[in-house]
Symmetry: C2
Subunit: 352 residues, 2 copies
């Protein structure tokens, strides 16, 4: 029985990717992908392909950017961005838990200006109309807030370098990615399994801070070694490459964005139409990746949970900071899975 | 045709592990192991099992140690050990490239005393008879030197905390592991695929430095969250768990050490017996994991390379710092593969 996996991440990836990855664990040019040297010709080709596909999808090929696949997770990037870029003062937009964690790590390195925050409403909206100090070393935003189900629809125009945690919506929608000076994203949403983090960095952004940067935390180190300064997370990078190839073979970001919009419309229309449910995020800031919603009357909780469990839906429980439900609909999720969820919401309505 | 994989790491792992890992990429309790949440009951059980098996194999269960599986590689531990433990002064034994890298990272945090070095002889031996300052915050050693093929046979008795990079020989031989206060090891030799790093740390070692430690670099943070502070490298941890289970099912360290000694004896006996070859490392310091050797006369190189290539042997080229050949014979390598290599060395002798 097929499971509809609505997990917030690690999350659903394309079935074709699972099949190819499974085969390669047994046989990748004669060896298991798990036992090949990272210095082998075969793996160097995988790394280069993953890097070039990442830049190609973002429209950043030959634009002065480098793509790195690092270990450690996006949480390490909260630290590395500050370590590498923060000399005196940086500006942050606080749109939720992950922004707060980024701010917390950066505070050890300089003055942090929180230009705006939606904490006053449990981060159910994206602040707008804020001012970014023109003397900030950079401005940091979180493009999609997995926990709260909000998404920045319009990327701000600023006069300082723009740094973005794009972990949960990279490769899901078309943007002018050249507006960003540094983008980072944990692989485990739209790109691959847990264990790799993509960093896309404009090279001329670097070399401006005076502090000592430890080798492993230095973007310049990793760039100088083409993302092979130390043994990279071979299998997570390989599966990321497969997923980026899958995206290309399926029309790239433009095509997938269309499907993502359909999926989002399907669930949000039901949340708004069905009297039993209510959305959490401000309508104009709703994420196309993570829909957060709840029952207006928790008396229906047992019945609804039974319905979606019976429909083989998994990963629907909301994050503890918000409660209720969260439907994560990343690139690899088919429209049919969202339809299956909507069906259970309608079934609840009929039974209630 | 089966390939004899002598790669230095990432390297051979048990075939049974490849089979189980491949299956789980398709179906792990109904989902792919690549798409399950790291907070799911199933993965929490994997992480706990991996941690408890690691401690069990080392005989450190209930001895005040914690086992962590982190991302980032052992290279990140060069930094983290210093960040967490170095207040004023630390002592390092320099036995090669990896020791040097550890020393380089630590220097930014305090005074480094290099108690001894074998650099004078391109690290072909392990220095002995050195003194460790009694006021050092810790003493750092590299138990096995993959590149040079040396191994510390006797773990030094010191009066300061003992920190060990055990990346390339952990779980390969029995030691009194309670002598160590902190052990770290990249997974990609005897434990699993690239992308996870095991840290076994005595809890009372921590909390003694006064500097600010960023969250992701703090052992205390990772301990407080049971190695789940951020999304861990799910699949590398899973495969590490499978490999640690395989080790247990095959008699644990005691049983595997016996095989490792047989494999090492087989290759070193041939190196010493065969007039065409010479060993690189000092005899008493020879690694049971990585045998480094070369042809006395490079005129035989083409013939020898053809022979071992024809025998489906791969990964035998030595590291550029040493040249010649390196046969890495980690836990999962069967005696037959070493015999296959010895056969080609004897065939060369007959033909030469």
């Amino acid at each position: 029985m097929h499971i509809h996996n609505f997990s917030a991440g690690p999350c659903i990836l394309p079935q074709d990717v699972f099949k190819q990855a499974s085969k390669s664990v047994i046989d990748f040019n004669g060896l298991s992908i798990l036992e090949i040297s990272h210095r082998s010709k075969d793996f160097v080709a995988v790394m280069e392909k993953a890097q070039s596909l990442a830049l190609e999808h973002l429209g950043l090929t030959d634009m002065g950017y480098k793509a790195l696949f690092l270990g450690g997770g996006a949480s390490m990037q909260f630290l590395m961005t500050a370590y590498n870029l923060l000399e005196k003062k940086a500006a942050y937009l606080n749109t939720g838990t992950w922004s707060e964690k980024a701010i917390k790590e950066a505070k050890a390195f300089g003055e942090i200006i929180e230009v705006a925050s939606s904490k006053d409403a449990n981060f159910n909206y994206i602040p707008k109309g804020y001012q970014v100090p023109s003397d900030a070393d950079y401005f940091h935003i979180t493009s999609n807030n997995t926990i709260f189900g909000t998404q920045i629809k319009e990327i701000p125009d600023v006069n300082v370098p723009l740094v973005c945690d794009m972990s949960s919506d990279i490769f899901s929608r078309q943007l002018d990615f050249s507006k960003f000076d540094l983008i980072y994203a944990g692989a485990q949403k739209n790109m691959g399994p847990a264990g790799a983090t993509l960093v896309v960095v404009k090279e001329d952004l670097l070399g401006k801070v005076t502090r000592h940067i430890p080798s492993m935390l230095s973007y310049a180190t990793h760039i100088s070694k083409d993302s092979m300064f130390n043994t990279p997370p071979v299998f997570p990078v390989y599966v990321s490459m497969l997923t980026l190839e899958w995206l290309k073979n399926n029309g790239g970001i433009t095509a997938i964005e269309k499907v993502n919009k359909e999926k989002a419309a399907l669930i949000y229309n039901e949340i708004d139409r069905n009297e039993l449910f209510q959305g959490f995020a401000a309508v104009e800031d709703r994420s196309n990746m993570n829909a957060t919603f709840s029952l207006k009357d928790t008396a229906h909780k047992t019945a609804f949970d039974q319905l979606w469990n019976a429909a083989n839906i998994s990963g629907l429980n909301g994050h503890r900071s918000v409660g209720g439900y969260r439907a994560s609909m990343y690139n690899a999720m088919p429209l049919e899975s969202v339809q299956a969820l909507v069906d259970t919401m309608q079934e609840l309505e009929r039974k209630a």
